[in-house]
Symmetry: C2
Subunit: 335 residues, 2 copies
Amino acid sequence: MARVTIAHIAERLGVSKASVSYALNGQPGVSEATRAKVVAMAAELGWHPSFSARALSRSRADAIGMVLRRDPALLGTEPYYMRLLEGVEDVLSEAGQSLLLRMVGTTPGRDTAVYERWAGEGRVDGVIVLDRAIDDPRPELLTRLGLPFVLHGVLPSTEGTERIEDQHRDAELIVSHLAELGHRRIAHITGPLSLAHEVDRRDAVRQECAVRGIEVDFAEADYTFDTAHTRVTELLAAGIRPTALVFSNDVMAVAGLRALADADARDLAAVSWDDSMLCQYSSPTITSLERYPDRAGRRSAAMLLELLDGRSWNTAAPSPSTLVVRETSRPAARP
Amino acid sequence: MARVTIAHIAERLGVSKASVSYALNGQPGVSEATRAKVVAMAAELGWHPSFSARALSRSRADAIGMVLRRDPALLGTEPYYMRLLEGVEDVLSEAGQSLLLRMVGTTPGRDTAVYERWAGEGRVDGVIVLDRAIDDPRPELLTRLGLPFVLHGVLPSTEGTERIEDQHRDAELIVSHLAELGHRRIAHITGPLSLAHEVDRRDAVRQECAVRGIEVDFAEADYTFDTAHTRVTELLAAGIRPTALVFSNDVMAVAGLRALADADARDLAAVSWDDSMLCQYSSPTITSLERYPDRAGRRSAAMLLELLDGRSWNTAAPSPSTLVVRETSRPAARP
DNA sequence: CTGAAAGCGCTTACAG
DNA sequence: CTGAAAGCGCTTACAG
């Protein structure tokens, strides 16, 4: 089956290719009669615009890229990413854009090479950057490459300073919940503090605790079961006795609860910053934050498309998270 | 930054664009001296081939597509897909190919539209088809569209008949394990029997049980917690008393165990056909099949690339699954 | 080995 | 409103 082109349509109709192009793209410059004939003929012949020809002549790939650079093994366990992709994809497909996905693992520099190549080849029109790090080199790199980008989870503020969204409101949800349960001393097992949002979470938790006169300790882990288990065990061994624990993801929450059980300290409360099946079906079930990653993905995709179209920011505010209260929402033990 | 093109390189070097093209593509037709100069200049100028120009002139998109059509909510909970994508992506990126991802949910026909568009626009060179259904219309559609494809998990046999891989070997792993534990009557909670691999699993389990004189019942669910819980509850209510249960995914295994606990029948054995964090961290921990979805993804991607290059099938046999024995590997209760 | 030229299938000023 | 033409940046026969 030879490809159907606008040349075929033009020939069959006895008009020029230009007219066909204008007609098919809804541009002015053709009579309505011609347009109708062209559209009908295109449908009849089953014409689709050649993606590469259009990309070449318009210098637009109609595709946006995402580079996931977490450990592949962890990616599979975090529903966050798949849900995020779902939201992104939803917006893109509605806009006729494609999603290019690359997974590069954690080796430093591999994502840089991908961006350079994408920019050089004109393969994508823009990218969504995930998991922003402290002193993240990517914004500068992408700016230098001339590749438009959106930092996922970062709300461009009117003052020109960036602000990670949500973390403060989320911290308030969690800390106030624990405060209501009577907790006066808590600990937060964070993810890697090289990630900007983990630093923001820690700072927000600290602030919310300060407001309420709650004591708080922090321990840094790396989202894996083992590190979280170790951190919690260390906390207890050091004689630090919080009555509630906050975990930056679900796997660490499960690990922490295991560590507590191992130390016969099952009466502590626990909250996970990420909701998942794990929180829902573990035993005990774990109170957690539903952050609606799909909506966040929709937002980032929409922001990027607006940026590419040169339109002004018109994106709705992020959806507030919801705290899903489960069995680990235990009251503070009376001393 | 204006794009660097082969025209620039040709001009700077005082050679023709053709020579530059040959040199850069490793084609014969240039002297080594010229080639070296061209390559050096390309590197100096930071040249990258324009993806769209190359695609247009070669009629190749250098991209392959995947349409995920499960329920988005379920996608997030099944690490299987992310791990699969990881394997696919790994092979593709090594071959300089891009991965286009679309998630269409379960609405019938939406995937068809995507394939038609991809084929019409020349956006992808081929696709990997997942979750093959009984009487799946996609192979015929893709053939009609002239879009090369690989059916994920299907091994093209030499006899020309397709054969879903693994299911038989996997069934044997599971059933023999249960037989060794002394089970003589089991039940298998399957996923939707509209999916080819679920039918294959059921048939394989039936056969393996027959060989060993084990009685087996089947109940169809849809991979969700609720249906699996209902099916198990119904089984028990009907007076059917297997001593071991097989579940076609991890969520259903968790649900089944819950149903057993609700009915005070905790002593049954259970095996999940999919491994995941859920099996690892639920209580009790669940014996499950590690199927190495990343390797399966690598295989499908490699097969598709071979198909696109017109090379012969050269793909290694699929990796055998491993049974991860955990707490639900209980012996049959003595009557 | 090298260069001039046509072609991939569109878009888009530019004249009529 | 319509048509002839150039251009996007490559690849690839085709002559020299």
